[in-house]
């Protein structure tokens, strides 16, 4: 097992490099560059202005040189400077990271717990009203565009009921510290996290339900019943455990996307996170920032894929992994 993990980690380094090169070429293939965008925003620019900017950003060099410089830096974990903000990319990501992790992390846990619970509940009531209601609700959240749900939630809870703040990370200018700050952030977190979470809930719910139904007809469930175990225990311990594999796959996928998964939510709720940073960076062609975020998110994906594989083995001992 340890050997397997180490092997994967070593490989991950090479994959990261390959991905880096790929990403670099990919975003440079998109039309426009940061200088053009900045000039565009200024509403006026002459040749010299653009040339100066490009020289400053090193964009006047041939592409392979830029790539080489970037890779050299990235290998030493130096993600370079943001062209636009003149800040080290690592620092920018570091600034935004906690907010995103908080949001997506909470949404992740929320959706997983809620989705699996609802899936179990629905499968237990298969074909009956409870099942229909749960399934329909889940689909409702899934199939409704995120921004719509977000806006409605804001309207109801923020504008009409005035219970929760509709956007932002904390109350600006309130200067809370300690527990008050934590509570303040928590309050701001509720709407975005549940909006994001509810979207994923449907996926887990449906997957859990389908898988549970499949497993619940297997023979060992009969054995469990013969032991006199009550339904709840059978559902949880016997069926769920055997039905978990696809859910784990999806959870691993979601966890890997913990950075990029929240672009829309972060935008609508003005949440100062990485997703927004990335999105803005793409629009502004702020190459180093895009690459930096992609780099970190790639590392995350690789890590969570590895974790998923390890969990597979723990959950289903029949699975053997080899490198």
């Amino acid at each position: 097992m340890i050997r397997f993990i180490l092997g994967r980690l070593v490989k991950a380094v090479f994959i990261l490099l390959a991905i880096l090169v790929f990403n670099f070429l990919l975003i440079h293939a998109a039309p426009g560059d940061p200088a053009a965008v900045m000039a565009g925003e200024a509403g006026a620019a002459d040749e010299k202005f653009l040339a100066d900017l490009r020289a400053r950003f090193g964009l006047d060099q041939p592409l392979y040189m830029q790539l080489w410089i970037y890779i050299k830096g990235a290998v030493q974990l130096d993600l370079g400077y943001s062209f636009r903000q003149q800040m080290p990319v690592a620092e920018m990501i570091g600034d935004r990271l906690p907010a995103t992790l908080l949001l997506t992390g909470v949404a992740f846990v929320l959706s997983l717990v809620l989705g699996v619970t609802a899936g179990v509940a629905a499968s237990a009531r298969q074909g009956r009203w409870g099942d229909t209601i749960i399934s329909t609700f889940a689909l409702l959240f899934y199939a409704t565009p995120l921004f719509w749900v977000a806006l409605m939630a804001t309207l109801v809870f923020s504008v009409w009921l005035e219970w929760l703040p509709g956007f932002g990370y904390s109350t600006i200018g309130a200067g809370y510290t300690g527990l008050a700050h934590v509570l303040d952030v928590a309050k701001h977190l509720i709407l975005p996290a549940s909006t994001l979470g509810l979207f994923f809930t449907a996926i887990y719910m449906r997957m859990t339900r389908a898988s549970m139904l499949e497993v619940s007809r297997l023979d060992f469930v009969k054995t469990a019943r013969a032991k006199g175990l009550n339904r709840g225990v059978i559902q949880r311990r016997h069926i769920l455990r055997n039905a978990l594999l696809p859910v784990i796959t999806l959870a691993g996928l979601q966890a890997g996307q913990i950075f990029g998964g929240a672009i829309l939510t972060e935008t609508v709720f003005a949440w100062p996170g990485i997703g927004r940073l990335m999105f803005e960076a793409i629009n502004q062609r702020d190459y180093n920032v895009i690459l930096g975020v992609f780099y970190i998110s790639a590392a995350m994906v690789l890590l969570f894929n590895l974790i998923t594989d390890v969990i597979y083995v723990i959950v289903d001992p029949r699975i053997r992994l080899t490198t």
């Binding site: 097992m1 060992f220 054995t223 013969a226 032991k227 006199g228 175990l229 009550n230 311990r237």
Partner: protein, 540 residues
């Protein structure tokens, strides 16, 4: 006083099944401390009747009329919640197929401990201790390791004993045992039967024992019920039914019982080795030893050597968990051996891969010990039987015709073609497995407990079929079994295994009548129903 009383019970089958009723007009009573044996044709509704008592009929199968009364309560009328209290504690059941009956992702210990938990008995630590004790009682070697194992890491017999341990855990009032010893060697079987006997004596436990082994019936039964096509054809005290059968079917059954004494001289066989096994080794090790718990190392096969000649049948017998199935799986390359060679026509199978292996496999077929899990739950029988043929180029139509023929040969109705594996009884599934292996007309068959779930008359029919193929097609067989009578009937030579090693090998007449080792002798001594056999012989 009766503990359980069944009146006019009929169990309806869904459309498309063999017949309308799995069981029809079933009547019997069970008193405390009584052992009732149910024998009968495979597919006659034995398992369904037993399941009905537990309230655990499969979907689509419903009790249609009649009543089941346990301890004054009508079981059919009980709610699921009330049933929970009975199940596991007052009535418990050992299911027929032990691999699929255990949760594949749960450790053995936890599955046993759960029984206590379900009924709020004992504390966590005590449950573990009791589980350990139970594993020991059912004779599983190294219970400390087994308790941490997953079902797929155990041999067939070991899994069956886990099932038994679970059923006995709370010392129920009624034990329903559906062919509980099919995968057990005779010594272990004897041990289990003794365990049941003890409980009966101590706690007055009543037992419904479904079996095909008349030896067992003779040894333990107080009363016997004989079933055929869903109906009880004969019932009565054991002595009477066994020695003075009234119904012709019962008589036919008793006539079909294989005899240990009936050993002829080995048939004349050509001496060209078809399969040569040299120094076969297989060791299982689970857990990395660093991250997840202790390492468990099982030397399942150690230095096994033998030759199989064309047209010969070798029986492999030996205690449960001694590596019999592992040898078989290594031969067909479902497992990669750790050492040694398996030479077929002079080529090492262990080295083959791809098309080469595929070509060889046609000649080498296996009948799996656990029929159910070896059948794709989403494939109909027709596909299961024909796809091998089709894969090797037989036209679809021809393959279908062949499949039907095979079904008939193993005693199944043609209508079976359209059904899914879960719609069959245990013995029927086993026959599907046999048919599948025969379909490809292999030159070697590895049969892992291939007839253990069959009633004696069908068993005889299948064994005859195999014997016929053997002469007609020059078929060679590796016949893994715990039933020494069956071995005596079909085998030319016998290999006795213990703890992964061959302890004795030789012609049937030698091994079964004049064994060299004490272990083999102990096996022979433990054969059930020897008195009965003598009585029958005397009656002849």
């Amino acid at each position: 006083m009766t503990l359980l009383s069944i009146r006019d019970l009929s169990i309806a089958l869904p459309m498309g099944a063999d017949r309308l009723y799995a069981a029809k007009d079933i009547n019997f009573d069970l008193a405390p401390g009584e052992i009732l044996c149910i024998v009968g044709e495979s597919g006659s509704g034995k398992s369904m009747s037993a399941n009905a008592v537990m309230g655990l009929l499969p979907q689509g199968v419903l009790p249609d009329k009649g009543s089941i009364t346990f301890d004054g309560q009508s079981i059919l009328g009980l709610s699921e919640k009330e049933m929970l209290k009975l199940r596991g504690s007052r009535i418990s059941m050992i299911f027929q197929e032990p691999l699929s009956a255990l949760n594949p992702l749960m450790r053995i210990g936890a599955q046993i401990a759960e029984v206590f938990e379900a009924h709020g008995a004992l504390t966590g630590a005590e449950r573990r201790a009791r589980a350990l004790k139970l594993l020991e009682e059912v004779g599983i070697p190294d219970p400390e390791a087994a308790i941490r194992a997953y079902p797929f890491q155990l041999s067939g017999g070991q899994r069956q004993r886990v099932m038994i341990a679970m059923a006995l855990a709370l010392e129920p009032d009624i034990l329903i045992a559906d062919e509980p010893t099919t995968a057990l060697d005779v010594t272990t079987q004897a041990q289990i039967l003794k365990l049941i006997e003890d409980l009966r004596r101590k706690r007055g436990m009543a037992v419904i024992f479904i079996t095909h082994d008349f030896g067992v019936v003779a040894d333990i039964a107080d009363r016997v019920i004989v079933m055929k096509k869903g109906e009880i054809v004969e019932a009565g005290p054991a002595q009477e039914v066994l020695l003075k059968p009234q119904h012709p079917y019962t008589r036919a059954l008793i006539d079909a019982i294989p005899r240990l004494t009936k050993t002829e001289a080995a048939a004349e066989v050509e001496r060209t080795p078809l399969l040569k096994v040299e120094g076969l080794q297989k060791t299982f090790s689970t857990g990395s030893g660093t991250l997840f718990g202790k390492r468990r190392v099982v030397k399942a096969v150690q230095d096994v050597n033998f030759e199989l000649f064309a047209g010969e049948t070798i029986g492999i017998v030996g205690e449960s968990g001694s590596g019999k199935s592992t040898v078989g799986r290594c031969l067909v390359r479902l497992l990669d051996p750790d050492g040694g060679r398996v030479l077929m026509d002079g080529v090492d199978i262990a080295e083959m891969s791809g098309p080469e292996l595929r070509a060889q496999r046609r000649k080498l077929q296996m009948i799996f010990q656990d029929p159910f899990s070896s059948l794709n739950p989403r494939a109909r029988v027709s596909r299961i039987l024909t796809e091998g043929l089709v894969a090797y180029g037989t036209p679809d139509k021809e393959a279908k015709a062949k499949a039907r023929e095979l079904l008939e040969l193993v005693g199944l109705d043609e209508s079976a073609m359209k059904r899914f594996p879960h719609e069959f009884s245990g013995g029927q599934r086993q026959r599907i497995g046999i048919a599948r292996a025969l379909a490809l007309v292999p030159s070697i068959i590895i049969a892992d407990e291939a007839v253990s779930a069959l009633d004696v008359s069908i068993q005889a029919q299948v064994l005859d079929l195999l014997a016929e193929l053997k002469t007609r097609l020059h078929l060679s067989m590796l016949f893994i079994t715990h039933d020494l009578r069956v071995a005596a009937r079909i085998c030319d030579r016998i290999i006795v295994m213990q703890k992964g090693q061959i302890v004795e090998a030789g012609p049937v007449s030698k091994v079964l009548h004049d064994p060299d080792t004490a272990y083999t002798r102990s096996l022979l001594d433990a054969i059930p129903g020897q008195d009965y056999e003598r009585a029958l012989a005397a009656a002849d």
